[in-house]
Amino acid sequence: MAHTKKLATYSLSLLAGVSMAFGASAETLTIATVNNGDMIRMQGLTDDFTSKNPGIELEWVTLEENVLRQRVTQDIATKGGQFDVMTIGMYETPIWAAQGWLVPLDDLGDDYDADDILPAMRSGLSHDGTLYAAPFYGESSMVMYRTDLMEKAGLEMPEAPTWDFIAEAARAMTDKENEIYGICLRGKAGWGENMAFITTVANSFGARWFDENWKPQLDTPEWKEAITFYYDLMQEAGPPGASTNGFNENLALFQQGKCGMWIDATVAASFVTNPNDSTVADKVGFALAPDTGKGKRANWLWAWALAIPAGTDAEEAAKKFVAWATSKDYLELVASKEGWANVPPGSRTSLYENPEYQKVPFAKMTLESINAADPGSPTVGEVPYVGIQYVAIPEWAGIGTAAGQEFSAMLAGQQSPDEALEKAQALVTDEMEAAGYN
């Protein structure tokens, strides 16, 4: 009898031990992300999350942007289940949501305040009115210019310049002997590189990728005007080798004082005004992206957002993490540790209402640029697609990159603007026909 009792006691305590061990075993979230300053900062601040959620551990997989996109698509399409949270962009979100690949994020907690998310961001990251990716940081594009060179050229940058003014200023600021180029713009081929920029230029010249019936429009006079303008401007006032310049290459040129103006992502503002890296940190001004008076400015809209793949076995924990990383409290946390200038921009309205944040030199222009962008109505004419610097269809990555190679070759002097447009029109037409659009 005593023996049986002892056995029962041992069994019970063993059972208790096992259940405790299971109870205490942490759930691990694998998060796929890119190596951007704001993401790296987040990785350094995760103690705040794990201390509030003791049962959840975080594992980071940092990948190069294109590798991340390919890995995540591959994993999500094959239901590999490698990632519980992933960093995706505004282009993928509506497409993947339509496929049923993402978990809807309409229940991130009572204090999450989804209505505080900037309207442009919210609509770009939603599908059928439901949020599928929470914006971690958002950006538009704007003009960054050298105030000293502008003054030397005897010009004054308006808050909302036209392309004609930009061209005039670029030519006036160019001093090739001293390696100062009036304007630095993207030329490196890629749907997210030169085509992001070129598409915004085209929008502002009244061009569009497709008409209402999905017929490619690259043979229209608007495209010709836009591409010829870009080509001429870069020939006269751009740096040598511009056909291989992307964001980072232009950032380097601008920081070394070799560009009079640079039109690119608003997030660059914090880099070019950082005296540790930039030789021109105290001589930078900002203005809205240019237009031609046709009603659309050449500014884009982009967000790096956190999404949860459908089928993850840690959905609840993943939602807790996404809510934490994109909350108002997180912005406060970054501000308290790293200062307001380092807070991830472009995601929440309340951030721009904060008097402390309003003191950051590029805050106002970033918000105005984001607000001026409307992915639902990106062009002067009617279009059947969503997206400003991209077309939110699965075929875009392919056609955008292929067309980008033509325009990059044009910039490198291998073909004329007319030839580039003709080839781009032909390949887009082929691709769209093959995809069954017309």
């Binding site: 190596n35 300053g37 190069e64 590798v67 490698q82 950032l251 380097a252 920081q255 930039s278």
Partner: protein, 276 residues
């Protein structure tokens, strides 16, 4: 006169060898130098070669941000494991092809090599799906097997070439003395082929260490080796060359040191073959 020419030729040869050596080594040297620069110096134009403020900051950042030892350990296991497994499979295969060839041996060898001609991405999805169903995604064992399979044709080919140089009569003599097949391979063939096997092992280890397509595609957090560690320092928005160079230097250092110490063995194996 003849002596003078020889001396002159020797000098020219030495200079040419150094020039070619430096040319090949230059990208690695540049990576190492860049790792000691600041991000601003790393992209400065004109580039700075030696006269800059040397800093260890990048190494500090990389050390702080990534768990280097975990990546290193994964690389060692994947490269070491796949090499070991490959040798175990390839030695008997190469033995049979070299010493008891059939009519179709040449065809089999060519067919094996032809698998290397297929772009890896062509079989990415089938392998990915197999990995999912076997639960091998993001595991070291999965990568060991894949790396072994990828490098197996090269291992078999190299060993086959070395074995062919060993006179079959020696093995025949061993057999006549009553050696079993196992003893013949272990005690007669292997010792004679050591330089060849060693250089095969080294080359295969280096290939597996540097392989970046499969290691990036089939791993996430747990089994990621040093190639993933390097890739994580590339940034779409922001300067990263100095930190990337520091990560690269840390990733190639172990294999560079290994190569340095074993260069004699490697050169001997690659140039002289098994038997002088």
């Amino acid at each position: 006169m003849a002596r003078a020419v020889t001396k002159q030729r020797k000098t020219i040869n030495t200079i040419a060898a150094w020039a070619v050596g430096l040319l090949i080594f230059f990208p690695i040297l540049w990576t190492i130098l860049t790792s000691f620069k600041t991000e601003a110096q790393a992209i400065s134009d004109p580039p700075v070669f030696l006269f800059f403020d040397w800093t260890l900051e990048n190494y500090g950042v990389v050390q702080e941000r990534s768990d280097y030892m975990r990546f290193l350990w994964n690389s060692v296991i994947i490269a070491g494991g796949s090499t070991l497994l490959g040798i175990i499979v390839a030695v008997p295969a190469a033995w049979s092809m070299a010493f008891v060839p059939s009519k179709r041996t040449k065809d089999i060898l060519l067919w094996m090599l032809s698998t290397k001609m297929l772009p890896a991405v062509g079989v990415l999805y089938p392998i990915y799906l197999i990995f999912i169903s076997l639960g091998l995604l993001d595991t070291r064992i999965g990568l060991v097997v894949v790396m072994m399979l990828i490098n197996l044709p090269i291992i078999v080919w190299m060993l086959y070439t070395y074995f062919r140089e060993i006179p079959g009569e020696i093995l025949e003599a061993a057999r006549m003395d009553g050696a079993s097949l196992k003893n013949e391979i272990l005690y007669v063939l292997t010792p004679m082929a050591v330089p060849g096997i060693a250089s095969t092992i080294l080359l295969n280890f280096i290939l597996a260490w540097n392989e970046a397509f499969w290691t990036l595609n089939l791993t996430a957090a747990k089994a990621a080796p040093l190639t993933a560690f390097i890739a994580s320092y590339s940034s779409p928005e922001g300067l990263f060359y100095a930190k990337l160079s520091a990560a690269s230097t840390m990733a190639i250092a172990p294999i560079l040191i290994l190569g340095w110490f074993s260069q004699k063995q490697l050169v001997r194996g690659l140039t002289f073959g098994a038997v002088k």
